[in-house]
Structure formats: structure tokens, C-alpha cells
Symmetry: C2
Subunit: 476 residues, 2 copies
């Protein structure tokens, strides 16, 4: 199902020998099913989006990446770049076989420049390590995603990952100021750098960011750092219903003038399931929805004043209760409810499809009623949680235990088609932070016109005329 | 000099008739030198970067833009999109003649959406009008440039304009969430929308932003708004020298944790010339350089605390004096010094080349000593002022009155080559916010490799296979 019509060269021993000549014996995995298997999937459980690589290469230098790409391009061998494999769209899976190019050995923080507030890293650095390293200088990388402790920064950039703090700080791309990358033909390009502004030619940095490894292999990134906030307060606010919870979002920003760090939403089903899973005794009463609101800053008084103002505004606008967390223990108690939503549903049924739709945030209540209709019509639960301040909802169709696999496949297809169509009707799109990969490529037509898709394919060809880089992704 | 080798169709009466059929009599200017002349230049005074259009069209709708582009593409007529013509790179000038497509009649604010904090505008809206319109809702567009009162938002987007508040708020591109645009072949595309996150395919919004009208004609933009700050304090800080003034920039951010709204720099020559021009009696004593530091926010107390912290930090680090402006009158007194720097130099000599280099901001002192060397070697003044927090310096070679025009041409060429080479050596680039246009295109090779330029040209061809859109810009 995943194969392209394009003809690729099948890997032979002579190709493997060449790759060993470039990366060394320890840099190549071949003909060892057990060792190849971990590179055959990401965090998408559905086996339709798994595929074994023929060979895995683990370069250590940009020059090695360049030589691998040049060779693969000449031989027409597909190459799929891979970071931590923690993605949620099948992006790092070799859908057409061939080479997986893992950046796991390109894992150095190359430079911490406190005078320019920039850090330069290789793509295989664990994102969390960046913040652990720069916090001694009272700095942090603000664009990191929720999966900060496992993901590699190269993957964050490839997907333009979002996260829990995007309301205030934006997503990964805002902080990427320079990239070194290798084109499919082996050429090394350098875009941007340690400069805050740059309008010299086209913005290749932000074209590569979020391009899902289909345009070039990122080999180095220069990332802007911000002063690390010293204080944080988290509120868990109970609302009678979704309309109330979401209606407060623009009010907070306009009436208090405060841009919260996070504005996370959970529906009742997600909340109760997560609380039961965690054995968490939070008194949520009749709440139909909750918001988690985070405020951070550099002054204790300011953060307290701001969180109080937001809390009062919520109560004036129908909130049932506001729980305040102003220390690490209670903050963790609040946030683990949000973080464990996905895990909690797996207890009942491990088969689910984690979605990533985005709508203009004022349309969240309408979107949620449409999701309720889809859920009722197809008789499957679709719990929702996500980033309310970004309009980004992780609606998650869950397979009922009683449903057969075959029925689930056809029901899920119908559910996704309707979910995405409704999203598009409300001015939204099918992915906010997880990417298209192989999982959503056939649905691109629901949100992009033929002209737009054709244009994107021409851009792809401008980088990759032979179509060897991460084929089977983004486009049908 | 500016013509391309490519063969274009020369405008005939039948072409003009077709354009009138599309836009109406009042939408076309032809064979009227006086009325065409204003469309032959932007704010670059050097006549080498002026060129008369054959015809000017002024569409009112996206559909008209589409029909113009389709016709021009079929006939191979160059089309140069134009907003207010307030640019500083020759970008809106029809370097190869043909059609100037002015968006001046596409000047409506289409939608103010206070629930989603988004405004949707046509490209011919004066940027200032956006903020005048949304301020009643306590909102503002934070990405606007210094020339806010004259420029059109379409031009800001085409150039990815910066401005005086970019340190805290970033540049235009950060706020552009949706674009409607017409491809050279006439196809209408819509990218992004009223959503905060979007990773559906390649990021066309940010590829078009800053593409200087060479990829598509922007016909509509959806722009993110922020809560309008209610309080502001400005500091004018005197330093003995540039090293002291610039050295404080990262210290402010890291040691106080505050990201100022603005961090503007002026050297002594710019300061004294502007003060004399304005008859401003500011006591600047022996100051070798000044910083203007702005802090804004939603709490009077917070803004005062922050500005005091910054003022104290400056004094602890060698500042001679800190002048505080906490009301509109004194704020205006400070900022008009900065705003009038360019005008002030024109009194002595109207012939000057306003440059727009960017370096990593910690390299500003080294860059300024290099500029002093260039100035001494070529015996011309090169005053410097600009956005210190962004490393963006408007170094401005000024023609001495005694120098002949011929000598100036050759001296300026040598000065720019050296200026840009030094900039590149320090990890910088040749334009931070003004763009490449026709003015800097031959210098792209100093900061981009052949591979990078070739890649950008392939991207250009993916949009514009016939090369009709804004030819003679960006590339040689």
C-alpha cells in the first residue's frame, strides 16, 4: 500500500559496502532483522504505517551525510531521515524501504553562546538536554514540545513541533535561526545563522522547518534562547461545559492583556479517565470541561497578580472552581492529569488514533459538538484534549473492545474523513504539530487545493528531483 | 543595466485594451509619463535603481489579479507587484519594464475577529490603519515597521519588514497566519488561515513572506493581533563608547530576565547630527554611543520596575547617564532623534546609501570598528544607527559634498563590497529588513553559496516557470 509507483534501486551488498566505507562497520545495520526492527516504526501503533528499512546508517558528520546522499541519489535509493522515532505521523518510517539515515550519533551540543543567546546543536541531541545545559546560564529553549524528554531536536525541527507552552512562546520554528542541511544530491547548504533578522533571499530556514525530512537532511541547527522564567503559577479551572471553558480564552488575552504560557483543555471524558488511571482524587464534581492555565515570568509578584486576575475572570465568567498550584508538587499534580490522557485511554483499548486537528480557537465549541455527533453516529468514543490557546485538539477516536479489527478499519476511515471535513469547514486544518507523514497524506486534498498540492510537489522537486528523500510522505 | 537576458514581450495597445477590459479605464495608466513616473522608483534615491513601467494596472479584486497574471504569463509580459513604494531596495520598481501591478485600490480591512485575535486585510491597507482600527478592541499588530504611517501591509509582508519593536515582538512574519496569493500563471492559492498552528504541507506562508513579490502576488492576509500594552517607559542611555552600549544588550536580557520592546543604537555621529538637525538640546556630553531602551506591558508598576532595573544595570556597567521618559511628550522627544537620523544626514549631503546589515548582536562592536576602518580608508563618513537588540545596523555611507559623482560611484561600490564582506565574516548578512531587490542582488554571492542561490532559483521556477514576476530582483 505504501509503495510509490516510482522505481527505486533495491539495496545490494555492494551498496552496503559503500555505506560501510562512509560510516564504518558500527555505523551500518544490515541483514539483522532484530536490530532493524526498531527503525521500522515511530509512535504510531497502526502497523499499516510501519515498514522495515533495508539498511540503517548512522553517520557522525555532515560530510558523511553528504556522501550518503550523493551515493543514494546516484543509485536512486530511498533515504528516510530519522531522529528519535517519537513522531506521531509515520514521518521517520521508511515507507518505501531503502536507507534509514539515523542522526542518533550526531548528538553534540556544539556551542552555547551566552552573548548572543544562541545554542548550536546537532540534530540527534535530546531536546531536554539543551535546556538542562543552558539553564545554568538562566536561559531556555522555549519552543520545545510535550515529549521533550525523549525527542531529538532534529525531529522537532523536521515536524515544527508545538507543545504545551506555544500560546506564549510559539512553536519550534520561532526559535530556529540557522540550519545546516544536506540536499538529496549531497550538497551542503547553510541558511540563516546567529542573527535575529535575515531577509537575504527566500526563507529556507522556515521552509525546511516542518518539511518532515522530505526536502533535506538537517545536520546542524542554531537556536535562539530566552531568559529562563523564575516563577510559575498553574491554575486548574473547572467549567460547567466546553463553551464556557473556550469562551474564556480570548477574554483572558484581551481583558487582562496577559498571554498565558499555556491554555490546555480537557473534556470531561479525558479528565475522568485520566484521574481514574492516576488514582487522582481531584474533586471535579459536575465539571464538563477544564482548562489548565499557566502563567510564568521573572517576578513573583507579577506572576501572582496575573494568575489572580485570570482566576477572577474565570469565576466571573461561570467557572465552578479554580485550583491554584504555586509550587512544584501541585503543579506536577495538575500537569500529570493532562500528560496522562493518552495513556489512560490505552487501558480500556490500546487501539486508538491520536489526531491533531486545529481550528480557529473560537470555533472549538462548534468543533467539539461536531465531534460529539461523529462519535454518536459511529458509536465510538472520541475523547478530546489539547491546546485550547492554539485551537489544537488531540481528538482521539478509540476502538471499542467489542469492535472487530476489520470494522474498526472502515469506521476509523469514515470518522477521519468526517472529522477532517468538519475541521476544514471551520477554517481549520488536519495537523497542528504532529505532521502529515504517511498517516495523513491522503487527507491533504481535504484542506489543500489541487493547485496548492501541485505547487508543493514542484517545491519538492526543486530540492529532490529524483524523489529519493523520504518518499511516501506528505503527498499521495 | 537592469535588463535580463530573457526575452519579454513589449507592451502593445492590444495588451493595454485587455488590461482595461479586466480593470476598467480607471484601473490602467498608459502613455502618460507624468502619471507613470511615481511608479518608476521607491525610496531608493539612486537613479540606477529607477525604471519606468510601460503600464500600471490597479486591480480591485483577487479575480482581477488572477486574470492579469494569466494574461501576462501567456504573453510573457513582466509584472512587478507594488504596494506603497516606500521600500528601500528597489523591490517595487519594474526593473524590466512591463506591467506594474499596484495594490493601492485593494485597501480594505475585510474582517476584525476579536474572538480569534485576527484581522484579515487586503494588501493595499496602510499598516497604521490596522492599528488605528483594532486599538478600540485593545489589540494591536505587533510586527509593524518604522515606516508604519506610510507603508502598505502588503509591502511589509513582501519584504518581511522589521521595525523598532522587533526585539520583543519579532518581525512581520511572526504575525502572518494566512495568505491568499495569485501565482504567476493566475492560480489562486490560500495558505494558512485563522489558526495558530499549521504543519499541513510546506510552510508557504513564510516562504511567500519576504519573497519580495518574486513568487506570487499577495491579495489577502490574515494577521494575528496581540493585547495592546497599556504602559511604556523609554530610556535614553549614554555610554562612553559602542563596546559599552552593545555589551549591555545580552546582560539586560539574561541578568534582568526582561526582553525589552526596543533596543535602539546610535553612534555619536548619528546622535549629534540628528540633535543639531532637530535643534534638540539634549546634554550628551562625551557620550560615544547611546541606547534607546523601551519597556512596555499591562501594569504600570511592572513597567516601572523593569525600566528601573534596566537603568540600574546600565549605570552599574559604565553608562554615563540614563534619561527616563514615562509620558508621551518625553517619549516622542527621545524617539524623534532616532527617527530623524537619516533625514539629518541629507542636509549635508542628499546622496547616501542606506544599508541594512545584520550581525550576531555581540559582534556589533567588532563590526563598528571595521566600519570605522572602511570609513577612514575611503575618506567618507559612514554613520551608524539601528536595532542593537537585533544586530541590525543601518550603516549609511554618505557622499562628501566635494566628491564627484563618478568618484562616488566607484568609492561606494568598493565600500559596499568591503562592508558586506566584513559582515559575512562575522556571521552576518547583507539585509535584515529592507530586502535584496535590485539594489543588493549582485552581493547575494557574498553571503550565499552557488548551491544556495541555485536552489533559490529552482524554487523561483517552481512558482514562476516563465520568469515574469518581478524579474531583475534578488538574483543576477
Amino acid at each position: 500500500m505504501m509503495y510509490e509507483t516510482r522505481e527505486y534501486h533495491a539495496i545490494e551488498q555492494s551498496d552496503v559496502d559503500e555505506l560501510i566505507a562512509i560510516c564504518g562497520e558500527n555505523g551500518v545495520i544490515y541483514a539483522d532483522k532484530e536490530k532493524l526492527e526498531p527503525y521500522s516504526h515511530d509512535e504510531v501503533a497502526d502497523i499499516r504505517y510501519h515498514h522495515m528499512p533495508d539498511v540503517v546508517v548512522k553517520p557522525k558528520t555532515t560530510d558523511q551525510v553528504s556522501r550518503i546522499m550523493k551515493y543514494a541519489d546516484e543509485k536512486k535509493i530511498p533515504v528516510t531521515p530519522r531522529a528519535a522515532g517519537s513522531g506521531l505521523s509515520g514521518g521517520a518510517v521508511p515507507a518505501c524501504g531503502g536507507i534509514v539515515l539515523s542522526v542518533e550519533r550526531m548528538n553534540s551540543i556544539l556551542d552555547v553562546d551566552t552573548d548572543n543567546l544562541m545554542v548550536t546543536v546537532q540534530p540527534g541531541v535530546v531536546t531536554n538536554e539543551i535546556n538542562e545545559t543552558v539553564k545554568q546560564h538562566n536561559l531556555f529553549f522555549a519552543g520545545y514540545p510535550m515529549s521533550v524528554e525523549t525527542c531529538f531536536v532534529g525531529g522537532n525541527i523536521a515536524e515544527n513541533a508545538g507543545g504545551g507552552k506555544a500560546v506564549k512562546y510559539g512553536v519550534t520554528g520561532r526559535y530556529i535561526h540557522g540550519l545546516e542541511a544536506v540536499l538529496p544530491g549531497g550538497e551542503i547548504i547553510r541558511c540563516g545563522g546567529k542573527r535575529v533578522k535575515d531577509v537575504t533571499g527566500y526563507d529556507l530556514v522556515h521552509l525546511l522547518t516542518g518539511s518532515e525530512g522530505t526536502l533535506a537532511v538537517i545536520t546542524e541547527a542554531t537556536i535562539k534562547l530566552l531568559p529562563l522564567p523564575t516563577h510559575q503559577v498553574d491554575l486548574l479551572v473547572l467549567f460547567p461545559d466546553t463553551a464556557g471553558a473556550i469562551g474564556i480564552v480570548p477574554k483572558i488575552m484581551v481583558e487582562t492583556g496577559i498571554i498565558p504560557t499555556a491554555l490546555e483543555y480537557m473534556d470531561r471524558l479525558s479528565l475522568t479517565t485520566a484521574c481514574e488511571y492516576l488514582n487522582e482524587k481531584l474533586d471535579y464534581g459536575d465539571a464538563g470541561a477544564i482548562l489548565i492555565v499557566t502563567v510564568d515570568g521573572h517576578s513573583k509578584q507579577q506572576v501572582e497578580t496575573e494568575s489572580e486576575a485570570i482566576g477572577e475572570l474565570c469565576l466571573e465568567n461561570g467557572a465552578i472552581e479554580v485550583y491554584v498550584a504555586d509550587n512544584a508538587t501541585t503543579t506536577e499534580r495538575i500537569w500529570r492529569i493532562r500528560r496522562n490522557a493518552a495513556e489512560a485511554f490505552k487501558v480500556d483499548s490500546p487501539i486508538q488514533s491520536l489526531e491533531d486537528i486545529v481550528v480557529p480557537f473560537a470555533s472549538i465549541p462548534e468543533m467539539l459538538s461536531r465531534i460529539e455527533r461523529i462519535s454518536a453516529h459511529h458509536k465510538i468514543p472520541i475523547p478530546c484534549y489539547g491546546h485550547a490557546g492554539d485551537g489544537n485538539l488531540h481528538a482521539t477516536p478509540v476502538k471499542p473492545v467489542s469492535m472487530s479489527d476489520t470494522e474498526w478499519d472502515s469506521v476509523l476511515a469514515a470518522v477521519l474523513e468526517q472529522l477532517y471535513t468538519d475541521t476544514a469547514e471551520l477554517g481549520g486544518t488536519i495537523s497542528g504539530e504532529h505532521g502529515i507523514g504517511s498517516k495523513r497524506r491522503k487527507h491533504m486534498r481535504l484542506v489543500l487545493s489541487d493547485s496548492e498540492i501541485a505547487l508543493m510537489k514542484r517545491i519538492k522537486s526543486a530540492f529532490d528531483p529524483n524523489g529519493i528523500l523520504n518518499p511516501g510522505k506528505m503527498f499521495e
